[in-house]
């Protein structure tokens, strides 16, 4: 084990960047961006030290750091990572860095405040994944709320204030219940053993009676279910995602939603196994509803970003399906779904952001035929579309396959229904690709030789009135320049990751093996 406090460095480097910016009021936007870039790059660097030093064959927590903090209440500053949190830490540091680059040109207003909020958010997110003390975990969990709400509320679009406040109130309501759960857990452990502690690992080793487990499970459940979000706790998500600035959507989809899944894996399953078993059927039903509902809602969206947002509800349904299938396949699947969703959906939000920067609208009917003048853009978009609909060889397939397999093993109906939705997701993803990249742009004269013409016309035709009469002031998509090198810089790593997870998932599965085997053993299922 290394002597360097790697995790502390990973978590707090962005915070240091934020502090520098805070105490440097005259920093020019250029310097501000560079400071943010350096802070997130250093954070990534430290997380890579963690990744390369990670011992895949050892079970338990690694890189543990512990400092006494509030000893009277058994609260300490404890950090550590295992096979479940380490990949998520890496995902967070990568996406944080990409988000800084993605904000480089779009954010021109109140730049310093933007990056302060952004870096605080990064610290909060990383802290959530590495905390080994419930109190510390809760603090990071809540700290993240404010900067995210600010990002949405100040730099968002259209209905941003509504979306920011809704996001904040929903998640706060959920996490406050978790607070009661945390204190109850602390008290239950104290009554059992006479020891006051909030150490997650210590608490996990105790056994709680079943009625306590039931209520405590629910107290934690709501916080995580809202974050994932599971149906019917998802209503904040389309608003927040749609109104957030591009980097905000990237982190919301890429990292924030993962916190819910991570919470289930870290707390609900190991702490309350009996209650989990009891409630699993209900939660699986909710997961399947989320998968189906998200896909159906995505089908009818006219807003590019809202479509991706609903597809997130659907994808994260696969993650919870895998988790509550309570077997190793499902757990592996949910972890891979989360990683893949973080990469792919994050990238899709960047894709939306790129055309939004050019068109200043996200309405699908404005776009069309982008493949002609933006071939690089269309290639990236195509890749991520295929990954999102679960084409084998790309990241989406592996996770969904394993999650569905896990669902099958629990009860084949869950697996079967989830499998059907894969068709739906192919439908809405291919349709959006067709509408944005392939068919002719509005106002473009129809090509008489094009056999696809009629279908294309049908697809662009609004329900009432002609598209041309309504969008005279809309920019012409035929004039859009292709992706800039900065935009390409944000997409390339995500594309590589998509392919990497798709072709060689073993790299990540091996990483998680110890942790997941341990978890699955709780429910009587060992190994793959």
């Amino acid at each position: 084990m290394t002597q360097l406090p790697v995790l502390t460095l990973t978590v707090f480097t962005p915070l240091i960047g934020a502090l520098i910016l805070f105490f440097w009021p005259n920093a020019s936007p250029r310097i501000t961006r560079w400071i943010a870039l350096i802070a997130t790059a250093l954070s990534l660097l430290f997380s890579l030290v963690m990744v390369f030093g990670f011992n895949r064959t050892a079970s338990g927590m690694q890189f543990v750091e512990e400092v006494n903090w509030l000893p009277a209440l058994g609260i300490a500053y404890r950090l550590g990572v295992d096979g479940i949190s380490a990949p998520l830490v890496l995902l967070t540091t990568v996406l944080s860095l990409i988000g800084v680059i993605a904000s480089w040109d779009p954010i021109q207003r109140r730049v310093r405040a933007y990056y302060i909020a952004y870096l605080l958010l990064a610290t909060g997110m990383l802290g959530v994944f590495v905390s080994l003390d419930l109190f510390l975990f809760y603090i990071f969990w809540e700290v993240m709320l404010i900067p995210m709400a600010l990002l949405i509320g100040i730099w968002g679009s259209g209905n941003r204030v509504y979306a920011a406040v809704k996001f904040f109130l929903y998640t706060l309501a959920g996490s406050l219940l978790m607070l009661v759960g945390i204190v109850s857990l602390y008290q239950a452990y104290y009554q059992q053993t006479g020891i006051r502690t909030l150490d997650i690992l210590t608490l996990t080793h105790a056994h709680y009676d079943s009625s306590f487990q039931f209520w405590a499970f629910l107290a934690f459940f709501f916080a995580f279910a809202i974050k994932v979000p599971m149906w019917p706790f998802h209503t904040w998500l389309p608003d927040a995602h749609t109104e957030a600035p591009t980097a905000g959507s990237l982190l919301l989809a890429g990292v924030l939603l993962k916190m819910g899944g991570y919470g289930f894996l870290r707390f609900n399953l190991p702490l309350f196994p009996d209650a989990t078993k009891r409630l699993a059927p209900v939660l699986l039903v909710l997961s399947v509803i989320a998968i189906l509902y998200g896909a159906l809602m995505a089908l009818v969206q006219e807003d590019f970003k809202r479509l991706i947002a609903y597809s997130s509800v659907s994808h994260m349904g696969f993650a919870t399906l895998g988790i509550f299938a309570l077997n190793a396949q499902g757990l592996y699947g949910s972890m891979i779904v989360m990683l893949s969703h973080g990469v792919v959906t994050g990238a899709l939000f960047l894709i939306v952001g790129i055309v939004y920067e050019r068109a200043h609208t996200r309405e699908l009917r404005v776009f069309g035929g982008l493949a002609r003048n933006m071939p690089i853009y269309a290639s990236f978009f195509g890749l991520f579309t295929f990954a999102s609909l679960g084409l084998p060889g790309l990241s989406g397939f592996v996770g969904e396959f394993l999650a569905i397999l896990g669902g099958f093993r629990y009860n084949r109906w869950f697996g079967a229904i989830a499998l059907l939705v894969v068709i739906l997701s192919a439908w809405y993803m291919l349709r959006v690709y067709q509408r944005v990249a392939l068919i002719r742009a509005p106002g473009e004269p129809p090509d008489p030789d094009d056999p696809e013409r009629r279908t294309a016309e049908l697809a662009t035709q609004p329900i009432a009135g002609g598209a041309d009469t309504q969008h005279h002031d809309a920019p012409d998509p035929r004039t859009f320049p292709d992706v800039t090198w900065k935009e390409a810089l944000t997409l390339i790593p995500l594309a590589l990751a998509t392919i990497w997870i798709g072709i060689y998932p073993g790299y990540f599965l091996h990483w998680m093996q110890q942790a997941i085997t341990q978890l699955a053993a709780l429910f009587g299922n060992i190994g793959v």
Partner: protein, 495 residues
Amino acid sequence: MPLQLTTPQWGLLVPPLVVLATIIVLLAADLFLPRTRQSILTGVAIVGLTLALLSLATIDWTAGQRTFGGMYRADPFAFFVMLIALAAGILAVLISAGYVESGFEPGGMALAEYLSLLLFSILGTMILGTAGDLLMVLLGLEMSSLAVYTLTAFARRRSTSLEAALKYFLLGAFATALLVYGMAWTYGLTGSIMLDDIAAALQRAVGNGGRVEASVLLALLLLAVGLGFKVAAVPFHMWTPDAYQGAPTPISGYMSSVPKLAGFAAMARIFVEGLAPLRQEWLTLIAILALITMVYGNVVAIAQRDIKRMLGYSSIGHTGYMLAGLAAFTRVQPGDHSVGSLLFYLLAYAFMNIGAFGAVAWLQERGYGTTLDDFAGLAGRSPLAAIAMSVFMLSLMGLPPLVGFYAKYYVIVALIEANLLWLAVAIVIMSAVSAFFYLRVVAVMWFSEPSQTWQAVRTPLLGLGLALMVLGNIALGIFSGPVLDLAQRWVQAFA
């Protein structure tokens, strides 16, 4: 019996005496200082209070020493009450000095009068903290309250200020009458005004028959109602919103903090110490009061557009949380978190709420009003002020890592340890409700555009006060361990 006169231990009286001396210096200096040099008085008050704060270190509080025949006690509880009163006092002077000096309110008070009244109120609260018998409780409480009644009427030419003062005074006097009546009953039943003796007598009575006489319950009820008025617990809260809105803003901040501290200190002394044997009787009462208080305060606060009024109602809500801390009292034992959590909450509250009112005063001195719209776009105009106000709002909401979160957390821990899960859940739900109106202020500051022009005014002391409170909100939270230990130690004093 020959009269025996023992020399009091003057050493134990140093902190209150320092404050008294400061008041005398203030009044004397006022006679000689020319009108233009009045601001020196502010310095005198701050130095005096700081000296008093430092002098707390000269006494060994853990020994539980007593003097004046046990009327005056120097135990950890007294220490903590003095600590909060003096800290809140310094903050209050910092945020109000400019407001008073600039003659912001029509017909305002002279600085010397203002400061000496403020210090009298602090002195009263300090004395209350040391009270060993009912008489001292009454003395401290009234010294604390009377000065604040006068301060509320500070703006003599503004009718709302006079109305607020009158309402506060009349209801306060009414409350005192009930309290005195309750004390008289207690004395009549137990034959003593010393808290120790009352507890012993009640213990004998409860221990013998196990049944509590109706007359004892009457005394309990009268005490609870009287003190309920002082801390603004529902249904004895009617004066609060008007008084907070009508009073000059820095006074509202002070009013929400120190007199509340006085009320809770009296409650802790009387209920936890004197009436400890009747715990079963008063705990339920306090728990129910806590619930209705927090629900009423938070729900009504949602409808307020005036920030001062909103803070008034929200302070009722916070009274509810503090009462919940008291309701978690189970027995005198080192591990008991209830009164410790209450004291910690009071300290935290001073930093949050005086800060919030300070930020309102900051805006007022720049020509703004006190409604929600006046805060629109503050972040664009003065990011530091907006950050300060956001910190106070989020801390009041209970968001980590700010001190408000820790305060609530400790109360919740105490409640769950006392098996009052329903009250803990109520706190959580009410926190979510309160998020709605606190967040509205934050949202308006950061997400809207400013509506008025700006008056450039220099208010260095107010700025310093706000900065101190922002730091306090962060540091007291993160390093709350030692402070909480300190707050909890007093229970051991009479274990």
